[in-house]
């Protein structure tokens, strides 16, 4: 036991602050400070919704700039000293830095959107932005956690403000009901996940994600391995429940339609995207750890795990698309589309596991390269998804503001009255379908390609690929339902005099343009994504 005096502790703290907090976790620090500032400002300054909004926006922008200055870690990696921090609780490398950038960018979009479309009083605005930033902070933590406990903390930090955000419109019956359902399902899922974490950490003796693989492998190679391996699978399943909940994968998707319909469209957009980006980042890390260093008995787990994920992915995609077909409410429809898109993204992870299984290693493919390819596809998909989904939900918010309805019946002719909004909606929706030359197509393309590579290892992945492809066609039915209402329907009497604010038009185009650009010139983005993958898989 080493001597412990107060000065040692203080010294450690300051060292941490100087060497770790500021250079590496500047964005998180800024977000924390912004939250405090917003609350302080609401006490000291004259409260207006605008000041709070400006504060939050500036905070996020500064944080994003912080990310910008760290981006040199991507690819090169060496000079910027990537690695595990806080004794391995967090990881900071060429993968997490851009993912955090993505999250911040997304938070900025969500913030600007709610700033321009939600009308609330100063006091409510303070609360809303605080919750939004708090949730974002949780997502940031989740995305870079390298420790299962930290991941759980991140999950909760992102979710708990989310519960409140869903119930933010207290005067609406549906809002409170939605938030209650979200809360109950969410709490149960996180409890189950935590139980899984506790078992897994007990079995392996570590909470570290990056050491998970080697520890699991160690279990598998010993005499008590068989039963312990079963226990490991069981605990992994429990943990996956938490992931699946956050990603609204079938069969843990129940909350999504209710929560998204009850929440305002802005909040629904925020919840549908943010959680995915952060959770997939962690899921990829876990999958890599589990599949990478395993040998012997334990390695046999990897292929079934990949196939299992493939099954879940197929179920999500199919169910999401089928259920969306019957929806009359745009938000609910988009909620089901979110479920389907989670499925598509999960396909990339499934392919990754299959390719990294021992069967993949022995088939003569370059495992490292194909792994990178899978991650590249997933990252690109997520990046496009940030824009296209927030765009779709944002335009739903605009429909609500201008037409007072979020039902397919009620928004007829929206695109004719507001041609710019309509055009942006076309871009978002067709990108969600996955048609070129829009970003969503390229996202699907790269994911399908990784499935195709995986199908060389396991023919089952070809089935997944075909199901995914066919679902793209199914999905057209309901997506086109939105466009049909918005363009082919006749606008209501008197709506032709409505005019969109130029700020709304600007924001809509700001979201639609990247989708178009990512579709037409995906080169830079895919290159960047593959650099990210390269810094993850060395």
């Amino acid at each position: 036991m080493q001597p412990l005096d107060f000065s040692t502790v203080i010294q450690t703290l300051t060292q941490n602050a100087q060497n770790v907090w500021m250079p590496h976790f500047f964005p998180e620090v800024v977000v924390c400070v912004t939250i405090v500032l917003i609350l302080l400002a609401s006490i000291c300054l004259k409260r207006t919704a605008r000041t709070t909004f400006a504060l939050a926006l500036i905070g996020l922008l500064v944080a994003l700039c912080g990310i910008g200055s760290q981006l040199n870690v991507v690819g090169s990696g060496v000079s910027a000293n990537p690695g595990e921090y806080f004794g391995g609780v967090l990881i900071w490398d060429g993968f997490t830095v851009p993912v955090r950038g993505m999250l911040l960018l997304f938070a900025i979009l969500a913030l600007s959107l709610s700033g321009s479309t939600m009308k609330f009083g100063a006091r409510d605005a303070t609360d809303f932005y605080t919750l939004l930033l708090g949730s974002t902070l949780g997502l940031l933590v989740l995305a870079q956690s390298n420790n299962l406990l930290m991941a759980f903390v991140g999950f909760e930090m992102a979710s708990i403000p989310g519960y409140a955000l869903v119930g933010f419109q207290r005067h609406r019956l549906r809002s409170s009901e939605a938030s209650l359902k979200y809360l109950l399902y969410g709490a149960a899922a996180s409890g189950v996940m935590l139980y899984g974490i506790s078992l897994l950490s007990g079995l392996t003796g570590t909470l570290s994600v990056s050491q998970l693989g080697s520890h699991v492998a160690a279990i598998g190679s010993q005499a008590t391995g068989a039963t312990a391996s079963h226990a490991v699978i069981f605990s992994l399943l429990l943990i996956f429940v938490g992931f699946a909940f956050k990603l609204s994968l079938v069969p843990f998707h129940f909350w999504a339609p209710d929560a998204f319909e009850g929440a305002s469209a802005e909040v629904a957009g925020f919840l549908s995207v943010g959680g995915k980006v952060a959770t997939f980042s962690l899921l990829v890390r876990m999958s890599l750890a589990l599949s990478g260093s395993m040998t012997g008995e334990a390695a046999k787990l990897v292929l079934p795990l990949g196939i299992g994920l493939g099954v879940v992915a197929m179920a999500s995609v199919t169910f999401g698309n089928l259920a969306a077909y019957f929806q009359k409410n745009v938000k609910r429809l988009l909620a089901y589309s979110t479920i389907a898109h989670s499925g598509y993204m999960l396909m990339a992870v499934a392919a990754l596991l299959v390719l990294r299984s021992p069967e993949g290693a022995s088939s003569g493919i370059d495992v490292k390269q194909v792994t990178q390819q899978c991650i590249e596809g997933l990252v690109f998909y997520l990046f496009v998804y940030v824009f296209m989904n927030i765009g779709a939900f944002g335009l739903t918010a605009l429909m609500r503001n201008h037409f007072g309805s979020e039902d397919l019946e009620g928004v007829k002719g929206f695109g004719r009255v507001f041609p710019i909004h309509g055009a942006c909606l076309v871009v978002c929706v067709f990108s969600l379908v996955g048609l070129p030359p829009l970003g969503g197509f390229w996202g699907k393309f790269v994911v399908f390609y990784s499935l195709f590579m995986a199908s060389k290892i396991s023919t089952f992945m070809m089935v997944v690929l075909l199901v995914g492809g066919l679902n793209t066609v199914f999905s057209l039915f309901y997506y086109i339902g939105i466009l049909k209402a918005v363009f082919l329907g006749e606008p209501r009497e008197g709506s032709s005099s409505l005019v969109a604010a130029s700020s709304e038009n600007g924001l809509a185009m700001l979201i639609a343009l990247p989708i178009l650009l990512l579709g037409m010139f995906p080169g830079a983005a895919t290159d960047f994504a593959s650099e990210m993958a390269r810094s993850l898989v060395r």
Partner: protein
Amino acid sequence: MDPLCYLSLLIFLPTLGAIILFGFPSKAVDAMRVFTAAITGVVFLMTLQLWLGGSFNPVLGTIQPVQEGVSVPWIASWNIHYRLGYDGLSLPLVVLTGFVSFLSAIASWSIQKLHKGYFILFLLLVTGMLGVFLALDFFLFYVFWEVMLLPMYFLIGVWGGPRREYAAIKFFLYTLVGSVLMLVAMLMLYFASGREFSLIGLAQQAAAGKFSSFEQTVAFILLFIGFAIKVPCVPVHTWLPDAHVEAPTPISMILAGVLLKMGGYGILRIAFPLCPLGAYYSSYALVAIGVVSIIYGAFAALAQTDFKRLVAYSSVSHMGYVTLGIGVWKLSEAHGIDFWLQGVSGAMFQMIAHGVSSTGMFFMVGVIYDRVHHRDLNQFGGLMGRMPLYSGLAAGIFFAGLGLPGLCGFIGEVAVVISTWNYDPLLAIIAASGVVLTAGYILWTMQRVYLGASYKGPHSEEIDHMPFTAREAFVGFTLLIAAIYLGVYPSVVFDVMDATLKGSLETLEKAVATVGK
């Protein structure tokens, strides 16, 4: 001018026009009409320049202006190139696209609502079509293929007839199914070839036997279904009558005149060269599908009472000759590829001829529909007396569709039927009987619509209020002249494509022959 710039300008000039159209005030309808017509006119002239401007050498039979196509890297990490070029296969279709676009832009005068949106989408559609024919990178091809879908959906869905929404979604859905299958095939070949998207490169690899026969067969089936939907071949043709009937006249013209040709073009440009073995194994199926399409389309046309639906089914029947002509591939010691070459040339010619004649037929239906607001064949009759000029032009064009010697429809059909004889005499006889059926329904239609006592049906007074305008006459005359010209002087098309077809068929033959018969 640098060929890459020239081709890009050709493709994207309509897009540019669409962007400029955004700036037009919504009230300036005439200005938009003229502007669109001018843009498409320039596009037509540019396509003619490709053909007649001296840059195209028909004897070469390779991709021009440069062997591998002019290209710049597009998405380098995926080895995707923005690669353009044309040869004897695509050039006639490019010119046809320019021609039909120009005429249907003129025919678009009849559009009554939301003009700005219409013309913007129309121009985007033209970009997509030209892109499909000029792209030499599989990925680029796919992108243009889909780009064309979006405007088409809206053009049918917003400006179409009463059941427009149904027709639009059906069209969209069918094409999307096809393109998803194409996507899977594309991934397969990309993977098997070691990350290659260039159509020429892929074709070379296929010819060198790099793809296994299993891969080729699967890929061919996927690709063929995708293209067959567009052609349309019989089991997957059901989108066509709906889309044609509900689409506004100029869009029907484009659909029939250009879009259907993309199917045939795709088969010849992609499905065959990339999977020669698969194509060879499936040739009998192709021929059978072609024959069934011919007969089924003709019988279905006979049964129609809707004028436009009849013309639509006649397209199914006529395009059947294309599938048939492409499919008559039989390795034979005696004749080599002669008969097959004749079939494919006939199919190509049939595509061009059908592009002219069916465009004309749809236009003629549209002209009369604008006046009497119905298409019921049983209520027509005696238009000849009321509108002699119109009826004369229409008769000429319908005769072209019928396949009367001296008009464009004749040559392709005859060439295809003759080469089929070599493949399977029975099928040839059946296909030939399709010609008789075609004559039957077209003559019967002409009798029901144009002949007889003077028209007294619904809205007969409108015919006097709206005389046959010079604009309409111009479109009609142009199409008729084109039909006659192609009928009398078919070698204008054959000259362009002979060398190319011969070269590519020989390559295919070699690729299959090396594997063994």
